[in-house]
């Protein structure tokens, strides 16, 4: 289970529901205090570490590769 902090001012509305799935423990806040990353582009904080990407979907794909889980498939 990955703990994922995300920020309301950063998250893309279409990505927000993707984070609510079995392999993730999503933690939402209006600001994560990571304003530099937030201004620069898409980011998530995964188990305490900042992960950046072109989009949140791309970050989730990166996590998929690292964990070996099909994270976007809620059947898993």
């Amino acid at each position: 289970m990955l703990e994922i902090n995300y920020c309301l001012s950063n998250i893309e509305p279409e990505t927000r529901p993707l984070l609510h799935q079995p392999h993730f423990h999503p933690i939402e806040d209006f600001c994560l205090g990571r304003c530099g990353y937030c201004e620069a582009g898409a980011f998530l904080v995964v188990d305490g570490k900042v992960v950046t990407g072109e989009s949140h979907s791309e970050i989730i794909e990166k996590l998929e590769q690292e964990t070996g889980h099909h994270l976007l498939n809620t059947d898993h």
Partner: protein, 502 residues
């Protein structure tokens, strides 16, 4: 009469002996205690708009802004405290290390003073770019930022800003309060003056010189495993997760900061003694909000229910003509009330449209009742009300956006970043307290809890028992009180909708 207004950012009420200090640490603050013994101590004082800059617009413009907009600038229609004081013949001065005044998302807060001192370097203040490689231990303790990262608001700037600090006198609160005492020395002979002192300490980072770093802990304060600038959120999960040992250390450093601020605040009180100013000066000491330090499982000012840790704030006022000096004042009061209180003391005009109600009649013993409700919250989120006995925390619907009203564009949730264009905006005379046209634009609502919460804060000051489900009649009464307060303030229609209070 002259006025000194001192705001100590994030000063937790429950860390002070004057308020019973119901915590595990015996935090020493002898100067605050001597002031509390001399002044009127307000027992039921609540923050209004949170966090830092929204609280300051309440103090400096008298507007309870969180129903209309988030963190932002002074508006052109605001009559600032300094401007109103000037018009009443007072010389005005600001002493602060509160860098948010000069950051994206806020401006106009210092322009009306005759003079201001800005002490550089606190928290994210964009001040120093060297040393290129800051102290690696401090970097670990402030959250392990990458010092080579060039994004906005890199925590490494703090390590650079304080790189040359060695003696206690070089830290922030000592500079703020020494400047304050110096200003009094050189300016007290003006006929009438307003001195605003806005200390960013005891706000994080909880980074301290000795002896304060070791006062309330046996740990090595330079142990890199011990964080002094924790991320906001729950202490049991995610980026804000902390061990019990780390939480205890954070609490010890917060306590050390209280003691350090207190020591230097004492220089200001000593100066008032030495210059014999008490009989012609009103002195106010308060905070803007509190700070969770593991309370209810939270750290910082996160997306949490708005418990009293954040919102029930300290207030001490010395008024030379008050018969209540050294006494407790139980009446319900609100942060926004200090604007009119200060202008009243300066015999300055209080604009009719503001939300502030002077506390001077209470201080003079002319009344014991001040207000029936105080509301508080963050823009775009839950809205909360107290009648002094109960606190009622009301959730919002996340499927209903919040409207932002301002003459300026601001980022509703990313306050410190370059301004992003809202998708749509309308202009018009939308505000009940000004004929100025303003922009109206929408942003996402976020709730802090999904069900209403109710606490009897007289019987349960730590708010351990949520009574909303069992005390249904009181819950309904408090919901009605919230509705009444919003109607009184002529809150936007969209607020009623997003709160389900139509």
């Amino acid at each position: 009469m002259n006025v000194i207004f001192i705001c100590i950012d994030s000063l937790n009420r429950h860390f002070l002996q004057a308020y019973g200090q119901p915590i595990e640490l015996a935090v020493a603050a002898p100067n605050l205690e001597r002031f509390a013994a001399k002044a009127a101590v307000f027992d039921t004082h609540y923050a209004g708009s949170l966090p830092c800059m929204p609280a300051r617009r309440e103090y400096f413009a008298g507007i309870q802004e969180f129903l209309w907009r988030p963190w932002g600038p002074m508006e052109p229609f605001d009559v600032s405290l300094a401007l109103a004081a000037r018009r009443a013949g007072a010389i005005t001065q600001l002493v602060t290390d509160h860098y948010h005044y000069f950051q994206y998302g806020s401006h106009g807060y210092f322009n009306d003073y005759h003079g201001f001192e800005f002490i550089r370097g606190h928290e994210y203040d964009a001040w120093r770019t060297q040393p290129i490689e800051p102290d690696p231990i401090l970097l670990r303790q402030i959250g392990s930022p990458d010092p080579q990262q060039l994004h906005f608001m890199n925590r490494a700037v703090y390590a650079r800003n304080v790189a040359e600090f060695q003696a206690e006198e070089e830290f922030f609160a000592p500079k703020v309060f020494r400047q304050t005492a110096d200003w009094l020395t050189h300016n007290h002979q003006y006929d009438k003056w307003l001195l605003v002192v806005d200390s960013f300490d005891v706000h994080e980072p909880f980074h301290l010189p000795e002896p304060y770093a070791s006062l309330y802990t046996d740990e090595n304060p330079r142990d890199p495993a011990l964080i002094n600038w924790p991320y906001y959120g729950r202490i049991d999960q995610g980026q804000s997760k902390l061990s019990d040992r780390q939480v205890a250390f954070v609490r010890s450093q917060f306590a050390g900061k209280v003691t350090m601020v207190d020591r230097w605040l004492g220089q200001v009180l000593d100066k008032l003694d030495a210059l014999n100013l008490w009989q012609k000066t009103m002195v106010i000491i308060t905070a803007d909000h509190g700070h969770y330090l593991g309370d209810h499982g939270w750290m910082g000012k996160p997306n949490a229910p708005m418990y009293n840790t954040l919102t029930h704030i300290p207030l001490f006022i010395w008024h030379p003509h008050s018969p209540l000096q050294g006494r407790r004042i139980p009446a319900l009061t609100s942060a926004v009330d200090l604007y009119a209180t200060i202008l009243n003391a300066l015999e300055a005009e209080v604009p009719a449209f503001v939300h502030s109600r002077s506390l001077v009649p209470l201080l003079l013993g002319q009344t014991t009742q001040h207000r029936d409700w105080a509301i508080y919250g963050y823009w775009g989120s839950t809205v909360n009300v107290t009648n002094g006995r109960y606190t009622y925390l009301h959730p919002c619907r996340e499927d209903r956006p919040a409207d932002c009203y301002s003459t300026m564009f601001m980022n509703p949730h990313g306050w410190f970043q370059p301004i992003k264009r809202p998708k749509e905006a309308q202009a018009g005379q939308f505000l009940p307290y000004t004929e100025f046209p303003v922009w109206r634009y929408q942003a996402m609502s976020y709730t802090r809890h999904t069900e209403p919460m109710l606490f009897d804060v007289q019987a349960d000051p730590a708010q351990m028992a949520d009574l909303a489900a069992e005390e249904t009649a009181v819950t309904a009464d408090m919901r009605h009180l919230l509705h009444e307060a919003l109607q009184h303030l002529q809150a936007p229609e969209s607020q009623f909708a997003r709160l389900g209070l139509e």
